[in-house]
Amino acid sequence: MKKALSILLVCILVLSMLVGCTSGGKESGADKETSTPVSAGDSARDSSGDSSGDSKVIKIALITKMVDSPYWQTVKRAAEEKAKELGNVEVTHLGPPTEADIDKQVQIVEACINDDYDGIILAACDVDALVEPVKKAKAAGIPVVMIDSGISEPVYDAFLATNNVQAGAECAKLMAELIGGKGQVAIINFAAGTQTAIDRETGFTEEIKNNYPDIEIVGVQYCNSDPTVAANQATDFITAFPDLKGIWGANDQSAIGVAQAVTEQGKSESIMVVGFDNSDDIKAGLKSGTIKGTAVQMPTLMGSRGVEIVLDIINGNPPAEKDIDTGVTMVTTENMNDPKIDAILNQ
């Protein structure tokens, strides 16, 4: 009896895992259909053949935190497009199966050093673990450009990422514009003590303090990236401050929660919601007008500028500044139909 039940238990566990895996498998399968892995690399090679073939093909390894996510696929697409445009460049996209596979990423970087790559573009899975591999690559004379997520020692050649202080300030500017330069605003930040969150909050509050004396920040709450908690906190802000003019959600989940609270309270006309990032829910909020604007990061720029900078370094023109801000684009209900902005929103 006991044995039978334990067998049943194991069966259920395996079954539930299979269910999880198959639904996962379907998703990633769909991803692969829409993107065309490796083929862009081939086409880059083709076009290099066309362009008189004056020099050898420059091989760049694009190593991201994982391969199969829309975000990294966007980076890869941008890098491949840039490679195609330049002609004599070939980009190969590599990465561990998940962001947690730090040791696998280390192995990939080391394999690339031994292979005949001319440059590496890397988004580090871990700030410390990737320091040594980057040092090794540099020692082997391979330029390394970091994107999105850096490492704890500045041994790389360049680091392309969103400057979150600047991004927070951009959100503050948009908020100020939306509420006409005066009134009360509240902040729902996504975490206390995380550098990204601290930077965004600092950027926002400093911008308001320095340039908008008539705007008062009435409070900051931390929702731990839980939109339900964000919605509850935003509702309490709305109750406590009947004249509240705007709420800023400092990441995707915070903004979704804030938009929900404003909708529930019937205040989507009077309270301006500014968000961050461009998830499906944020896009839906922009379309319905509950979210008035959002700061969109530029993974495409990380891909294309990454390729350019690797080439610059190979040609002896390293960038003047190691840390390069790829910036954010403020997408608003006003400008979202502009094809250029639409492309950024849906990148």
Partner: protein
């Protein structure tokens, strides 16, 4: 020895003393709730006591309360379920995924709850058949169910809004944040109905009595012919079902299921139950107490927010309240044991 003494008293006088002490605990928690409400009412110059704000609090505590109901069942058996928050996320995302795949909303909700039932069954089998300590078993499944949730969502939210089907969006949104009878949030009505059903099961049925007996003294319960394994198994299944219910309501409120939904909520649910008089040692507790406990937490959060208390100070205050609740429970039990 002490535990034996308490139990024998309880099994002899099922009605008398136990009910009295339960009532007292509920009365105390309710008293705290009233005092807090008056306190916040005065300090916020009445804003706190406005009907709209009270209903807001009711909507906010609903998921914690529903999660707390199932946890109350498990806690009464002397167990615990640390995976409840993950099961919440799992139920919500299974339901949302089904909707995005074209399954009708009612069937999707049933699928979501079934996911929770299955999760509860797995927890229960680990605890009863494989004899793993509930704390460890459900700590393990906490990771496993969170992993499954992330797998279903591929680490991203499953957005119903992104479907763009206005009818589905409006129906789902109503389930999560719509109002009936004027301004009463629909999820809160669901919470009240669930509370009544589970409250009756707990206090009026043979199964309810067996649950208390198992939690008071498992050995004695076994010897008196109670099927301990079955009783515990059902408690874990109920916990899984209520957790997934809470998850579906949360997903419906946002019209999007988050793959990290419910992280840490199990502790909110346990806190609500304990503040409401459910003992972490098993054998005692009730649904009404958990409702009151959830409201104590909700009122504290809302009141402190309205008073513009710093976010970090709030965490300290809520932490202290939870410790006080557990300390009171322990002290009272000790006193009760000594008085026998």
């Amino acid at each position: 020895m002490l535990r034996g003494a308490v139990t024998s008293k309880k099994s002899v006088k099922m009605g008398g003393i136990k009910v009295k002490s339960d009532l007292f605990q509920k009365f105390l928690a309710f008293g705290v709730l009233i005092v807090l409400s008056i306190f916040f009412g005065i300090l916020t110059k009445g804003i706190f006591l406005k009907v709209d704000n009270i209903l807001t609090i009711a909507l906010h505590v609903t998921p914690y309360a529903i999660l707390g109901f199932g946890l109350t069942f498990v806690l009464i058996t002397g167990g615990t379920d640390l995976s409840a928050g993950s099961v919440l996320g799992f139920g919500g995302i299974v339901c949302a995924k089904a909707i995005t795949l074209g399954v009708s909303i009612p069937v999707s909700i049933v699928l979501g709850i079934l996911a929770g039932v299955l999760a509860g069954l797995i927890n229960g089998l680990f605890v009863t058949k494989l004899n793993v300590t509930p704390f460890i078993a459900t700590l393990g499944t906490q990771f496993a169910f969170r992993g499954l949730t992330q797998l279903v969502g591929q680490g991203k939210p499953v957005s119903i809004r992104a479907l763009g089907d206005e009818k589905i969006i409006s129906v789902f949104q109503f389930i999560g944040s719509g109002t009936i009878f004027g301004k009463v949030p629909f999820p809160t009505v669901i919470m009240i109905v669930t509370a009544i059903i589970l409250g009756i099961i707990l206090s009026k049925t043979a199964f309810g009595r067996r649950l208390y007996a198992v939690g008071s003294n498992e050995e004695a319960a076994r010897l008196s012919g109670i099927n301990v394994i079955k009783t515990k198994l059902i408690a874990y299944i109920i916990c899984g079902a209520t957790a997934s219910m809470a998850g579906i309501l949360l997903a419906a409120r946002l019209v999007s299921a988050q793959s990290n939904a419910g992280q840490g909520y199990e502790l909110e649910g346990i806190a609500a139950a304990v503040i409401g008089g459910t003992s972490v040692m098993g054998g005692e507790g009730g649904i009404l107490g958990t409702v009151i406990g959830a409201f104590v937490m909700g009122v504290l959060r809302n009141g402190l927010n309205l008073l513009k208390v710093d976010a970090f100070v709030q965490m300290v205050i809520i932490g202290i309240i939870i410790v006080l609740g557990v300390w009171y429970d322990t002290a009272r039990r000790k006193k009760q044991a000594e008085s026998v």
